[in-house]
């Protein structure tokens, strides 16, 4: 028996932290007026045992805040204490159970303790109030059965739910006449696959059939191929016969032709060929031989002609030898002509030279003149001297005249100056006067130096001129050393220069002294007189200076005059010597008398040149004469030697020579020709012989061939050869034709053909056409068979490679397997459902009597013996009651009070039956409040008895009978305020 010991409400509805102890009592009465929280405690106990859905829990959240939850202390069926705790917000509000030691128990512990009784079942049996006494929905057997089924862990709902669910699943798995359920669909597939498989299950047989069919086709093909091959063979034979028909005809023609010829014809092997070959070889040789003979004749004729024109060898040799000298002659002749031309040239030049000399002398005169190289030199010197003297003497004369003229002028000028010049005394007086005058005065140095300086200046000019003249003369001397006669004047000039140079030096001292004196005199003039004196003295000085200068010049002129005179004297002497020489020359060469000396050198040159020319010409004349002698000698020799050959005596020698030369060349040519022809004749003879040597064996062999066949002429030979050739050709043709026929036709046919038994061309054509038609037919048949065979092959291949059967087989078995699996599943569900239904029926059938018996017992007690039986009316399927009067009442005939009592009785009956399995506390909330007092007592008595099996927790009001009976054992009363 499960018993609640105490409650500890942490918070539930109006209750906060409320502890209620049942004091191990089995019958607890909880007393309280309305709104004191009785129902809440009942709900709390139910919450602790079965929990509440979250929505329902909302109703019981503590009104004044705090945690929803509590603790229930129980004594389980095993007699041990346990604790059940629940929190609204902990462990998903599931019960947390602990054993005595406080160890937490498995989550399903409570479910097990309740033996699967859920709130619904509990409510139906153990929890009731005045409003829930009745079994809802009447009292049919099923309804009552439901109640009974509800007794136990299963609960009728579960059973019905289970039935329903299982039925649903079963319906989805299979329906005997359905189409949609799984098994029905699989069955459909399976039937389909089975059908397909049946079609293919003989795949091997089909394959075999295909194979056999293929073999049939193959056999047919083979047969047809054989037939075709035969036909083709026949066709080929016809075709071949047609093709070689000409050969067959030819063969028979050849045979006919051969019949006309001897059976055998003797003829050397390759005779005609050999003969013809020899002939062919001989023919060109013969032609060559003819040509060679002809050539020989021609050459000999030609030789004769040449030889007729050819001079005797000695004459020819002589001619050649002489003519060899002609070149020499020509050389001499050319030399001769050359000399002639040179002589003429020289003569012309001599004449020209003589003409140019205008001397009117002949060559002989010239040659007589004692002219030589010295002459020319002498003449040259004379001419030069003459020229020089002629130039120098007038110049000197002119210079002399000029000097004399200057001298005259200077003398005149001097005289005039001398008249103006003071006498020395006058001057001295003046100077003394001036000196006196100047004594008071300091002499000015400028006055002294001035005339001196002027003098020095003049002196320097003179010196410069003198040095220049000296250098000039010196230079001329140096450059005219070759012409010695010119050196003299320059020497003179040099000397004069030197004189001019040294004279002033000497004169200078004197001049300085005079000047110093003059200065001293001038300084002595008085101031008054001084100016006059100075002027007069200055005039005087000036005049005197001029006099001195002129005197100096006169002196110089005298010197020059002397020099010139001297030079003139020298030149005159020289001139005299020259004239002497000229006379001498003019003596020797009279023509010079009319020729100025200066032309003499040229004349000498001309004359010498002419003399040279004459001498050269003379030498040329000698040479020419020598050549002429040789030429004449040669001509004479030639003319003498070849008088016979010279056709015309009037011809010039040159023409003769040309003629002979031509003749010689001609003869030479003839000779060469003769030689060449002879050589060619010799060669030609060699060729001719060679050809003949080649011809000989050929001719012999040809003759031999003729001998062999016993003929003598070529005609006979040719005739025989032709016969033989014809015979041979025919023989060969025959053999070739046989070969051809044999090559293309089989032996048996060949035999017939050769024997003359063969089809004509038209017959063959007919046969060919027939054969062609047949072959075409056969080919068509074959193609058709090939096609069929290929198709069969493809079918076989397809069958071999096809996984269709395999797949279908697998699929079939797969589906079949699936079908069986599903069928088993269906059967499982079916079994489960069947068993539940069956059990349900049995259960109802087995346990209802017990429950009704118990219910009868309790109703009897409650009604105090009024009702004696609670039973089912099997016909009406309704509960009925039997009173102690024997009256029967259907449930629907009973008063509400009696019905309530009946249901209490049934509940108690069920609980009694259920107590075999589980003993749970009854929670009764004034369930019997509308029972009359007596019946309440009866109920109370029943419950008191029942408390030993089920703990009774009774909720009631203060004035309840249950409260009034206070002295009851093992009972506790709890008052709520």
């Amino acid at each position: 028996m499960m018993r609640i010991n105490s409650l500890h409400i942490y918070g539930f509805g109006k209750w906060i932290d409320q502890k209620i102890d049942f004091n191990h009592s089995s019958f607890i009465t909880i007393v309280g007026d309305n709104e004191t929280g009785k129902s809440t405690i009942r709900s709390f106990i139910l919450f602790m045992l079965f929990g509440l859905s979250p929505q329902q829990r909302q109703h019981f959240l503590p009104k004044h805040g705090g945690q929803l939850g509590g603790k229930l202390s129980i004594v389980a069926a095993d007699g041990n204490d346990y604790m059940i705790e629940r929190f609204h917000d902990r462990n998903n509000c599931e019960a947390i159970c602990y054993d005595q030691a406080g160890q937490r128990l498995p989550s399903d512990w409570l479910t097990n303790q309740l033996h699967g009784v859920d709130r619904s079942l509990y409510n139906k049996i153990f929890n009731f109030d005045v409003f829930s006494l009745q079994v809802e929905g009447g009292l049919s057997k099923d309804q009552l059965g439901q109640v009974l089924l509800s007794v136990g862990m299963t609960g009728s709902d579960r059973i019905y739910q289970a039935e329903k669910q299982l039925q649903t699943v079963i319906q989805t798995i299979f329906r005997p006449r359905g189409t949609k359920p799984e098994l029905n669909q699989i069955l459909k597939q399976l039937i389909d696959k089975e059908r397909q498989l049946k079609q293919l299950e003989d795949s091997i047989a089909i394959y075999e059939k295909s194979q056999k069919q293929r073999m049939v086709y193959q056999n047919q093909i083979a047969a047809k191929q054989e037939e075709l091959a035969k036909e083709n063979e026949q066709f080929v034979l016809f075709k071949e016969q047609e093709r070689i028909y000409q050969s067959i005809e030819d063969y028979h023609l050849v045979v006919e032709q051969l019949k006309q010829l001897p059976d055998t014809v003797y003829f050397p092997e390759q005779g005609e060929k050999r003969y013809q070959s020899l002939k062919e070889q001989l023919q060109p040789l013969q032609t060559d031989q003819r040509v060679a003979a002809q050539k020989l004749i021609e050459l000999k004729e030609e030789l004769e002609q040449i030889q007729a024109q050819l001079l005797p060898t000695d004459i020819r040799n002589q001619l050649v030898n002489r003519l060899d000298e002609i070149a020499n002659y020509q050389s001499h002749f050319n030399e001769y002509q050359q000399l002639e031309r040179q002589i003429a040239e020289k003569t012309r030049m001599i004449k020209e030279g003589l003409g140019q000399s205008k001397l009117n002398i002949t060559e002989a005169d010239l040659l007589d003149l004692p002219i030589n190289f010295t002459t020319k030199e002498i003449w040259q010197q004379l001419a030069d001297q003459y020229t020089r003297l002629t130039e120098q003497v007038p110049n000197l004369d002119q210079s002399l005249l000029k000097l004399e003229k200057n001298e005259q002028q200077l003398t005149t000028k001097l005289n005039a100056l001398k008249e103006k010049t003071l006498s020395t005394v006058e001057k001295n007086i003046l100077e003394k006067e001036l000196e006196q005058m100047d004594r008071t005065f300091v002499d000015s140095p400028g006055k002294k130096s001035n005339p001196f300086n002027q003098f020095q200046k003049k002196n320097r000019y003179l010196n410069f001129i003198s040095i220049s003249v000296m250098f000039l003369s010196l230079a001329l001397m140096i450059f005219n050393r070759q012409e010695e006669f010119l050196i003299l004047p320059f020497v003179i000039i040099f000397i004069v220069g030197c004189f001019i140079l040294f004279k002033p030096i000497k004169f200078k001292g004197e001049m300085i002294e005079a000047l110093e004196k003059q200065a001293e005199q001038e300084s002595e003039q008085s101031i008054k007189r001084r100016d006059d004196l100075i002027r007069r003295i200055a005039q005087h000085d000036e005049n005197r200076d001029a006099v001195l200068l002129i005197q100096q010049e006169l002196k110089q002129i005298n010197i020059e005059k002397m020099k010139l005179t001297e030079q003139l004297a020298i030149l005159t002497m020289e001139n005299e010597r020259m004239e002497q020489s000229i006379y001498e020359q003019q003596d020797n060469f009279s023509f010079l008398a009319h020729i100025p000396v200066e032309f003499w050198p040229d004349l000498a040159k001309q004359l010498i040149e002419v003399i040279d020319l004459i001498e050269q010409r003379q030498q040329l004349d000698i040479d020419r004469d020598r050549e002429l002698v040789w030429l004449n000698s040669f001509e004479e020799k030639i003319r003498a030697n070849f008088a016979d050959l010279i056709q015309e005596s009037q011809l010039s020698f040159q023409q003769v020579l040309n003629q002979l030369q031509e003749l010689s060349i001609q003869q030479q040519n003839f000779f060469v020709q003769e030689q060449r022809i002879q050589q060619r004749i010799s060669q030609q003879e060699g060729i001719h012989n060679e050809i003949r040597a080649k011809m000989a064996p050929l001719q012999e062999e040809m003759e031999g061939l003729l001998e062999k066949v016993g003929v003598e002429t070529e005609e006979q030979w040719t005739k025989l050869a032709q016969q033989y050739e014809r015979w041979s050709i025919l023989k060969e043709q025959k053999a070739e034709l046989i070969r051809q026929i044999k090559l293309h036709l089989p032996d048996h046919l060949v035999g017939n053909i050769l024997a003359g038994q063969y089809d004509s061309l038209s017959q063959l054509e007919i046969k060919i056409k027939t054969s062609q038609v047949k072959m075409t037919e056969l080919n068509q048949e074959l193609n058709s068979l090939y096609q069929k065979e290929a198709e069969q092959q493809a079918i076989l291949k397809q069958q071999e490679q096809s996984k269709k059967v395999l797949n279908l087989k697998h699929d079939y078995y797969f589906i079949k397997e699936k079908f069986n699996e599903e069928a088993k599943r269906w059967l499982t569900y079916q079994l489960a459902l069947e068993q539940i239904q069956q059990t349900k029926e049995r259960f109802q059938r087995s346990y209802l009597p017990f429950v009704l018996e118990k219910a009868t017992h309790y109703l009897n007690e409650i009604t105090d013996g009024r009702y004696v039986l609670v039973e089912f009316d099997q016909t009406l399927q309704q509960l009925y009651l039997l009173t102690n009067d024997g009256d029967a009442y259907q449930a629907n005939e009973l008063s509400q009070g009696t019905l309530d009592q009946l249901f209490v009785a049934i509940r108690l009956g069920i609980s009694s039956w259920l107590a075999k399995h589980i003993q749970l506390p009854f929670l009764i909330d004034d369930g019997f409040v509308h029972f009359d007092s007596n019946r309440q007592k009866q109920i109370y008595a029943i419950l008191k008895d029942l408390k030993d099996i089920h703990q009774i927790i009774y909720f009631t009001k203060e004035n309840s009978d249950f409260v009034q009976d206070r002295d009851r054992e093992d009972q506790s009363i709890i008052y709520l305020s």
Binding site: F50, L52, S53, P54, Q56, T111, G116, D118, R119, G152, M153, T154, R158, I159, Q161, A162, L166, F174, L183, L187, I191, E194, L197, L200, S203, I204, Y207, E208, Q799, E800, S802, K803, V805, L806, N807, L808, K809, H810, F814, E817, K818, F819, N820, E822, A823, K824, L827, T828, Y829, Q830, L831, A832, Q835, I836, Q838, T839, R842, Y847, L914, H917
Partner: protein, 412 residues
Amino acid sequence: MTEKIKFIHCADLHLDSPFKGMSTLPDSLYQELKNSTFAALDNLVNLAIKEQVDFVLIVGDLFDQSVKSVYAEMQFIIACQKLNKVNIPIYLSYGNHDYLEARQHTFTYPENVHIFESDQVEVKVFSKNGHPLVGIHGFSYSERAVLDNKTTEFQPVEGLAYQIGMLHGSIQQSTEHDYYAPFQLSDLQTKNIDYWALGHIHKRAILSRNPAIVYPGNTQSRSIKESGEKGCYLVELNQMETKLTFKALHAIQFDRLSVNVSDCQQVDQLYDLLYQRLSSLKKQKSIIFLTLTGVNQTLVSHYYQGEIDEIIMLLNEQQQDQENWQWIQAVEIERERQVNEARLKENDPFMNQLLTDFEDINWGQLSKDLWQHRQAKRFLVELSEEEKIKLVNDAKDLALYHLLGMNNDENK
């Protein structure tokens, strides 16, 4: 010294066999799965070439006879051609699944394929380097069942270094149900055969070492019943010993995975746990049948509300594009049924009645709507006892979930 031999022993290739228990798979993976038996065949060929074996033994059930497919035949021919190129002979016998093959001659195999066509044991001699070396004995099924013990027909040939017996069959269990060439282990052990190449049983097993009596298992799993690696044995035989090396050939592995989820209160925790467990598995293409153990009430509730399926869907979605995908094909929860039921019976009269009623089921009545359905019945397989037990348990769980599974607490 006698030359040693090296060969591959495989059986039960079931080349075009359908897969079982595969009712959900995305198309791409489904395509791979369909091709997996052929991929395994490719792997076999590659292994033979790589190992340069002397020959390959295929001991029955090369094909699945349910529906014959030309494609499968051609794939096998192509494989044979590859081996022919490297001169590796194939010795082939047919079993209970492909017995019809022995009769038909539709397909021409390459010359390296040696077929035991007779239902009587024949001997084919394998020569190496021109010398006869191995006598290979075998027979093919001519009917679906071979009831006789064929071991008596295996007679070693004199003068050969090795004798190999190819036997597609199973150990005799009882006289009534042995349809597949039943034999006793002792029958084989007493024969003078060096190596017994067995076939038919898809789970590989070495029944004996001396002489070696070996089931190589099938090469590719076809359902969760054939979980784990699948392949063949590479056998190296000499006069002294028989060396057996298992070589995996499967393209896709079927695996069972059991995960204790007792620490998971919520689905997100479950998701993390499953993700970790899957990540820790070997990376290979695998189809996983997941069992959750230690499932609490909350998860059970999630399970029935389809939330665990959603997690699985999420995990699968992540795998779908992976090269080595791991696809969770099914998920089951395992609970302490006995304890729960006892308590329920005790506490709840209805449950007591219900669970009691589960012990008496009228299957015929229950299933008639479907199993007697005019169209459906031919596709449905009669349920085995095992399946019935599972179905009852599932139905119980389902009923209980619907009756009790939801939380009684009102708080929700």
